[in-house]
Structure formats: C-alpha cells, structure tokens
Symmetry: C2
Subunit: 362 residues, 2 copies
C-alpha cells in the first residue's frame, strides 16, 4: 500500500493507494473520525461494492444512500435527498459521509458534506481512474446547474482518500482511458520525468498491470497534491490543472455532455493546447508529435467528433468560468513539464487552432 | 459613522454603522472589489430601498434579483433562481453579490455567494436590527430544509457590512424589539458593563434614538466580532452566541415558525436559560429578576404562548443541531457577562425549568 499526504495545514489528509483496500476495516477505523457514517453511492457501483463496504463498517452506525447512476443526477435535488436521509436518521454535525464511486458521486457527496449543517467530514473512495487521480484529490466539490456544469460548489477537503486499484479491473476500457488523459496531464504540466516514464509504460498501464498502475496513480496524486498545497482555492497556480479543460469543456458543451467522456474531451483539449503552443512557436512540431502519439496510445481520440465540425467552438469556450474580465485565459505549453497560464496570445492563433481541428478528418 | 473591523486574518472585513449610509456611492466604491454587482433583496425591502441603492451603484454593471418576502423563501430553490440570474447575465467568479434586507436575504445571499462557482464575494446591507447586530456579522450563511432550519449552509465571510440605522425607523416595533433580544444577549454572555448600560438606556433604545442606537449596534458587533475572531467555525467558544437559542428553537419549532419572531423566542429562551441557572444555584433570584425586567422593558414576551402549554418542549430541544452525541449542550449563566457551555447538568433541572414555564400563566 502506498501512502501520500496532501499538505494543507489543519486540513491535511492521507491518500492510500493499493489493491484490495475497499473492504479494509482497519483503514476505516483510522479515517472515519466519527461514530456515525453514511455511504453515498450510485446504483452501478452500489451493486458491485456497497455490500462489502457496509460489512467492513459494521462497527459503526452506518446507513447508505444510493442515487441513480449518471451525471444528470449531480444536482441540488440529489443533494437535498441525501440531506433528507441524514436528517431522517438524525445525523449530527459530527457525522461523516463516505463517497463510494466516480467523480459524480464524489463531487455530489463532497458538496453535501460541505453544506450539511455548514460542513461535516467526508471520505473519498474513488472507483474510477479519473476520480483516483483527479476529482477525489484537492477538495473541489460541486453540483451542476441547468445552465452550467459545476456552477454550484465549494472547496471542502476530504478527511482521507482510499484508492483501491483492484476496482479498476472491472472499469470499462473507455472510462479507464479517460482517466489516463488526466495522468498524462500531470506529466505535461509539471513532471517531465513522469511524462517520459509514461511514454515507456503506457502499454503496461493500458492493460492495468498493478505495479505500474499503482505508481502512476501515486505520482499523479503527488503532482496534484503539490499544486493544491500551494493554491488550495485556485487563485493562481492551481489553474495549470486545467490544461486542456477549456478546449475540453467546449467540446463537452458542444456535445451536450453526451457521446464523449470527460477525459476524452480533456485529452483532445490538451492536444489542441499543444497545437496552439506549436503555432505560437513555443514547442517544436516534434514535441507536438510526441504528445499526439501518447494520447493516441492511451486509446484516446485525437480528432473532433463529426458532430462538432460545424459548431463554433470558440463561442463555446468564451462562456467557460475560467474566462476572466472577458479575456479567455488558456493554459499553454512551454515544453513538456512546463506550462503557462496566459491571456496574452493572438486571437487569430486560437482561431487557427480551432479551424485546424474542425477541418481535420479522421 | 462608526467603523469596526472583524479580525479574521485574510478574511477580515469592516462594518460601517451610521445614518444615511445605504445610498453612499463612496462606501460601495470602497467595498465592492468588483465591477459586476448583483443586489439581492426581497419584495418588501426592495420597494423601499432598491431604487436608491441601484442609483448609488450606477458606476457599476449592476442587476438586481428580488425574492418574495418571508422565511419560507430561504430555500435551495431560491438560491437556484439567483444562480439562474447570475448565469443568464454572465456573472463570473470575480463578481459580487449584495444582500439588501434582513436575515433571510442575508443568509440566502451569503450562501449563494459561498456556492456560486465555489465562492464569490458578497456584501451585507442589513435592514433590520436583528441582522445588523447578529446575522450579518460572522459569516454564517444558510438556507432551510423542509426538515430543519439552517440545515444547509456554509461559513462564508462577507467583504463588508453597511449598517444604516436610518432604515430602522420604519421597522415595525415587534421586529425592532426582536433585535433587542440579541443586543441584550451580548451583555449577558460577555459584557457586564454593556448590560448595565442597557439597563440605563433601554427606554432610549426602544424609541430608536440615533445616538444610543448606534452605540448599541457598535458594541453588539464588537462583541460578536471578538467571539467570531476566536472561533470562526464554531468549534467551541462561538457556541456562547447561542445563549437562549436552544430553548428558543424549541419554541419556534413548536409554533411551526409562525406567530413568534426569532428574537422573541430567543428572548424567552434566555430567560429560561437564566431560570435554569438559578435553579442550579449559579445565579441568585435577584439576577434572574434583573434579566426578566430588561427583557420585558425591551417589549419582549416573558411567557410561553398558549399554544405551547401542552407541547413537549424537551422533545423539541433534543433535535437541535447543537445536540452532540445525544447529550444536549446548553449555554447557562454563571453571572451577568459570564456563561458556560455545558452538557453537565441534571436532566431533572432542565425538566423543572420547562415545567415552570409551561405552567406559568400570563
């Protein structure tokens, strides 16, 4: 088992990474910090793991709340229903929520924990690669609003994260690859050595070999933890974690959040950011080729879907919440392992990048 | 104009108290910290002051959102509607909300600011005495849930508070007196000198004389700020601000939040806490008499309403969120200006206190 600490002063917490951790009563005893627990999960993950987790928690007062699976349930209404369960069962301010699932469950449960009686403890048990390397770490919680994703949320750090890599074995391939996009991201934004390791090990990762997988998750979490420790509430540096996300959100919005997974959009978004960096003369074509190759080897798309060929992606980017004072900030590459957050680019280069991808045929 | 600072490190903010401040463009320029403002108010307060406030804000991009007046609108649904307005008007993460109204508007707007895009700035323009001395200071924000008041919320400090005492002239007498209950509370919990000043000046306050009124608000805010500075998130000391509130919430719940105002319930709740303290031998009967007299002179009720004569108040107290591990914590008096937070009391004394008030005839 690997252990990392996210260093946030009084809000510091551990991340445990390893095989067969989900049913470890010992870990729960160490992390619960409360006698009253409620496990929140979705119908898919619940069918697989809820029974075992509840068994492992039999020494506690424990209830569970199951939401239907799917991003459309990441809403204020779902939060309200969890709060119904909490109040009906008389859970007080010292109780603790446990998020068992992927990003939707983690974000919803974390936000509920942030708001219930003005904030209670919660733990993350991420069951997707994406959640293990990204959404479960760093305290960003949220629900969606009809007019925008993650528009209602809070920064609320978990009390601990348990990342069981065994559960990734049953994860569908597309979902797994979607998580790899965020893993690649950490290499690109701040860890050249890890990026090169990924180039050598991507095939082992793709077949989910336990050793390389544990290492990749640990290294990803270490990178994220280092960034979050320096800028918990995204006032500056933390924005580098959004590499590829501004392009990616435009893709997701254009597809109405259907068809493509988040990581797939982020993967192509990173490639678009790299392409734009190349057009600006910041990285050579050979670096762009390396990036395209790794994204492709991770099983991620490198072309826009047909549906977006006639959509104005530029317009969709400008409503992104990372837009500041009307001028869209982008995260661009100086080299592999080094990015800048900038609003100082030529609009025509951004337009050219979008034109290139919308005209590119598979 | 009086100025106080609530000292919370990077979250410190000023409170301005004085006459005719609501339309001061200067103050808004000093506090806005943003070019994009949205004023949230309710239909009652909006009719009186919204036009003037918007005029004073004419140098900014400014919109307004008016909710119907009343506690029943302090809900997630109202928050969702404000967020609709924000997104429709493309308000970004650097925008600022302005809460123009009493506690309902302040709590709802503050919570919306806490959650919108994971937290934006907001200002408080409290228009009731209760809001000026209590709810606008200290960063507690919340909405109600069908199963409990303030069950969904956040600690989110405002960027500043403007307390205009002129607006109190039009406040209905019962609402004004309800605010006096919280003013008296500050004397009881930690400021004996202020309590004695109140005994000498309660009649001037009751007729809203500007000088004494400004002083009483300032001193109340100073007391609250001192407590909040030491315990922002209510992990200990801050609970003393709940003197009378556990009894008071039971009264409010028993009345289904109809009939009595919050401050009226708190006023009687403080008297009940004092009575219990007397039964425990902590304060003499003469002190209890002084407290009863001041509450009465403030125009506040000192008897339970008829409707609660046959209601089990003890049962209603035990669901209060200040209950910890099944044992109800109470704030009790050692003397005027000194309270303790304790779960170490004889249950029979609590029962006797309740019996005394339920059998007491007006």
């Amino acid at each position: 088992m690997r252990e990392i600490t996210v260093d946030l002063g009084p809000r510091s917490y551990p991340i445990y990474i390893g095989s067969n951790l989900l049913y470890s009563s010992e870990l729960y005893k160490k992390l619960a910090g409360s006698a009253e627990l409620m496990v929140v999960t979705d119908s898919n993950v619940g069918n697989l793991y809820l029974g075992g987790v509840l068994d492992a928690l039999s020494d506690f007062k424990v209830k569970s709340h199951v939401i239907p699976a799917g991003e459309v349930y990441k809403t204020l209404d779902s939060m309200n229903q969890i709060i119904n369960s909490l109040l009906s069962n008389r859970y007080g301010r010292s109780s603790c929520l446990i998020a068992l699932g992927g990003g939707v469950v983690g974000d919803l449960t974390g936000f509920t924990a942030a708001c219930y009686q003005r904030g209670i403890r919660f733990l993350q048990l991420p069951t997707t690669l994406l959640a293990q390397v990204d959404s479960s770490v760093g305290g960003k919680t949220a629900v969606n609003h009809a007019m925008g994703k993650n528009m209602i949320g809070a920064f609320h750090q978990p009390g601990g994260v348990i990342s069981d890599i065994s559960v990734l074995q049953t994860l569908p391939e597309r979902e797994f690859n979607s998580g790899l996009a965020e893993v690649i991201k950490y290499g690109l934004i701040r860890d050249q050595e890890f990026y090169e390791w990924l180039e050598s090990n991507i095939d082992n990762l793709a077949v989910k070999k336990a050793g390389p997988l544990g290492y990749a998750i640990e290294r990803s979490c270490l990178n994220k933890a280092a960034v979050v420790s320096k800028d918990e509430k995204e006032t500056g540096l933390r924005a580098i974690l959004n590499l590829g996300h501004t392009f990616g959100h435009a893709i997701e919005t254009g597809l109405d959040y259907q068809l493509w997974l988040h990581g797939e959009a982020v993967g192509l978004g990173m490639l678009m950011a790299a392409h734009m960096s190349m057009l600006m003369g910041w990285i050579p074509g050979s670096t762009l080729d390396r990036i395209k190759s790794l994204i492709q080897r991770a099983g991620l798309p490198v072309y826009l879907p047909e549906q977006l060929r006639n959509v104005n992606l530029r317009e969709l980017m400008s409503v992104d919440k990372k837009a500041s004072h009307g001028r869209l900030q982008l995260i661009l590459l100086k080299e592999i392992g080094d990015v800048v957050i900038t609003a100082d680019y030529d609009e025509s280069v951004l337009q050219e990048t979008i034109r290139f991808f919308t005209s590119l045929r598979t």
